[in-house]
Structure formats: C-alpha cells, structure tokens
C-alpha cells in the first residue's frame, strides 16, 4: 500500500498515538501525523513510532490539522489514495482497508465511514440519539443524505485531495466536508465501520454541548455563502 497515506490529526494524544501509528504501519508505510500544538510529548511519540511529523507551530483545530495533513500527504511521491483517521484509537485499520477496496472497485471519489451502518461499541444511548439528530440536521442543511455525519474515517482519491479545502478550523469541519462533497459533486458512498468507544476516546471526544456550536456554524456558513 505504497500509494496510500493515512492523515492523523494529533492533539495531546501521547498515551495512544504510538500504538495507533504502529497498527497503521503494519499495512501502510505513510502515516502523516499533524501535531496540532500539543502540550504533551505527542511529537516525540510520533517520531519514535515512525510516522511523518508535521508540526503546527500553534494550536489551530482538528479541521486545520486535517487540511495540513492532506496538503503534506499530496507531496509524498506516489501517493494517490488518502485516509483520514482519528488519533485516539477509535477506528480500525481493517475498516480503512475495506474502504480502500471500495474506492478501487467502484467509481466513487470518496468513501465515508458510518457507525450506524456498522457498530458503535460502548456508545451511550444519549450519544446515539445526539448523533442521529446530527445526521438529520446535516441531511437537511447539506443537501446530501448520509447515515452518519461526524465520522472521522474517510477514504478518498487524488481528485478529492487536490480540491478539498477545509476552512472550518474546529470540529465543524465534519459538516463542512459534507457540504464540500455536495458542492464539488464528489461521488460518494458510505461503508459500515466499527467505532470502539474506549473510556479514553470518550474522555477525549468533544462534549455533547458542542453540537450547538456545530449547528450555529453550519447555519452561519449557509447564510454567508
């Protein structure tokens, strides 16, 4: 899988990032880790584990880190396929491999992971309800229908990598990517993936009240365009 680059935004993940990189390296040699101004030893862990370290000089948010990682990955020779992957260990590499196969065997530009087609292990009932509401909101505002609006696992081709331009720096980027899929007319498909909600990933994840921020930002983008 020389032609695949995993893009991993990293913010204060020193305890898990090493093992996440190692698990990816078993199948793919290019793991681009964007250290988004972590105050812990994430950068050292990335270098030790053998990922590419791209260092934001300041903290800019997950959306900005994804954009940086994609732009760096585009410069790696021979890379034609891209995977966005969370740093906290909630995604499974075998899901990404399956999604890469879907990208190869169909004519889609981007493959999106969906935990509602698959399993969400350890999610609370409230989290499920909130995520379903987010999906309904996203379907209403973006104009394309999905079963999961905020899944960090995505696989896409060079065309998407060259034209994607994420401007929302923070967690709103997930909604923005869906809007960009609609606007840039990328062909897309959803694939069932498994999310492992460990205690760690739940603690690191965004608080539920952040849904308000995402909704407001999404509506603001709608009126400002």
């Amino acid at each position: 899988m020389e032609d695949v680059a995993f893009v991993v935004p990293v913010y204060n993940e020193e305890t898990v990032i090493g093992s996440v990189i190692e698990s990816v390296l078993e199948t793919c040699p290019h793991v681009v880790c964007v250290n988004d101004g972590s105050s812990d030893a994430s950068a050292d862990r990335i270098l030790e584990a053998g990922g590419y370290l791209v260092n934001h000089p300041i903290n800019m948010g997950q959306g900005a880190a994804l954009q940086t990682g994609i732009e760096f990955a585009r410069l790696l020779p021979g890379v034609t396929r891209f995977v966005t992957f969370d740093a906290d260990g909630q995604h499974r590499v075998e899901d990404a491999v399956r999604m890469l196969r879907v990208l190869d065997t169909t004519d889609v530009d981007i493959v999106l992971g969906s935990r509602f087609l698959g399993e969400a292990i350890g999610a609370t009932r409230f989290k499920r309800l909130l995520l379903k509401a987010a999906v309904r909101f996203s379907n209403m505002t973006s104009g394309i229908r999905l079963t999961d609006a905020h899944n960090g696992l995505r696989v896409f081709n060079r065309h998407v990598a060259d034209t994607l331009r994420i401007t929302a720096p923070d967690m709103t980027h997930a909604s923005e990517i869906i809007e960009l899929i609609a606007r840039n007319k990328y062909r897309f498909v959803e694939v069932a993936v498994t999310i492992d909600y460990s205690d760690y990933s739940v603690a690191k994840g965004q608080p539920a009240v952040n849904a308000v921020n995402i909704a407001v930002d999404t509506l603001l983008r709608k009126v400002s365009r």
Binding site: V34, Y52, L53, V54, N55, H56, P57, I58, M60, A64, Q67, T68, E71, F72, R74, L75, L76, D162, T163, R165, T167, P169, R183, N184, R225
Partner: protein, 132 residues
Amino acid sequence: MILIQVVLILAFAAIFVVALRSRSAHSVNAWKKIAFAVLMVILVVAVLAPNLVGVVAQALGVGRGTDLVLYLVSVTFAFYVVNQYLHAQEARNQLHQLARRIAIIEAQERYGMERLSVAESAKTTPAPEADA
C-alpha cells in the same frame, strides 16, 4: 456652552483624529471613513442642539430623543460586532495559512523532500472556488 458639551465635543474630535491618523487607516474602506465622519458630525450636532434630536425622533415616530439615540447606538454596535467578527475570522484564516506553510516546509526539510517551486506551492493552497 455647558461644560458637558465641551467635554463631549473634545472627546469626539480626539477620537476622530486618532482614527484618521492611525497607520492602518489606509486599509479602511473609504465608505466606512465617510460614514464615520458623518456619524461624528451628527454626534456634535446632537450635543450642541439636544432638542433637535427630539424633533427628529418625533418626526420618525419614535417618541423621545433618548430612545432614538438608543436605537441608533444599538444598530451601530451590532454592525461593529459583526464587522469585528469577520475581521477576526479573516485574520485567523491568514494566520492558519501561514502556520500551515511553515509546518509543511519544516516537515519537508525533516524528510529531505524537494522543496516546491513557487508555481507548485501555489497549488497547495488553491484559491476558493467561485460560487456557482
């Protein structure tokens, strides 16, 4: 003239001079400068002839002059807030693009990758697409 009138007019004059003499004044939209100057004139007139504000308020059906002033201040403040918000976002986007470029150049050096020509590096941050 009453003391308060003198104080207020001196304050307006000072604000006006400071605003126009600031180094960044060149980048401020000409229409905003005109609007600012008009606002200053209105303020001075309102201070010198308080009754006039009441007359204008009556004509507009607002009632008291103080109400009219309150409404105008509210609108001006809302405009200011939105304006500042957009400025802050623009500045943040520029800062992020700069930081991103630094991060990528530093990483390219770390991994001995070839530096991009200017033409190629321009491709890494495509201009926003025009709306259809």
